[in-house]
Symmetry: C2
Subunit: 147 residues, 2 copies
């Protein structure tokens, strides 16, 4: 990716991940995302929305990740779940290095515009620790009693 | 709630919601949450972790909310899903005003310590708009093709 004519435009790079800013702080989010969708997003101060990832077949909740406009655009148009890594500050095509691909089945936006539900077909483990989901650490909870 | 002896301690108030700071900026998070659990949380700069809410029976993902240490403590110990409202800056027992209660079935922490999966029995609509889930706004997505 390179900064040209006031927008980020694709320049070939090695690997599937691009190290670029999540947002252009002067001009706001810059991405090929449909402006009608972009207008409905309510982003965090660092330009992100939360992405809950659910497995299509089992309906297991697999992980929580983050997307900026461009990651959402790539997720909607490539069929491959693509996130913004807050720690590495780069785009991250799930499975690009691990082989644990996520093939997109559907994407829904919530009522507030600040969270996405991404339904995927998961290949292998969703979690980098090797477990099927990232939510394998059960906490002790007193179950609520229905009335 | 009142500030006593360096900790927030319960003082009866009208209603089910308390308007108190999410965190004590001097002493860090103050709550009755088990310190062993608190030590595993990786909080956002405003002291919160994301809480994905899933319905136990249908496995529908209902909503995304936020918890500080005290909201998690209340969720784990009262059996009623309790969040921190970022807009109202107060604790929020789901269903306290709407009657759309969430009875806790289980709570799991993710591998990063920054997201929770709360499984609940949902009474009525989870979304304040009256829909069953908050994720009813489907976006146009090109489905990914499995290899």
């Amino acid at each position: 990716m390179g900064y040209r004519y006031g927008r980020w435009t694709p320049v070939p790079r090695a690997g599937e991940c691009d190290t670029v800013p999540a947002t252009d702080l002067v001009n706001g989010p810059v991405s090929a995302l449909d402006p009608a969708i972009a207008a409905r997003l309510r982003r965090s101060p660092d330009g992100l929305v939360a992405a809950i990832v659910q497995e299509a077949g089992t309906r297991d909740v697999l992980m929580l990740a983050w997307m900026d406009d461009e990651a959402l655009h790539r997720t909607l148009t490539t069929g491959r779940a693509t996130y913004w890594s807050r720690s590495r500050r780069e785009y991250w095509v799930k499975g690009a290095t691990s082989g644990h691909h996520q093939y997109v089945r559907s994407v829904a936006l919530d009522c507030d515009g600040d969270a996405l539900l991404v339904t995927v077909e998961q290949v292998g483990a969703a979690c980098h620790t090797g477990t099927h989901t990232c939510f394998s650490d059960e906490l002790p909870a007193v179950p609520g009693e229905t009335a």
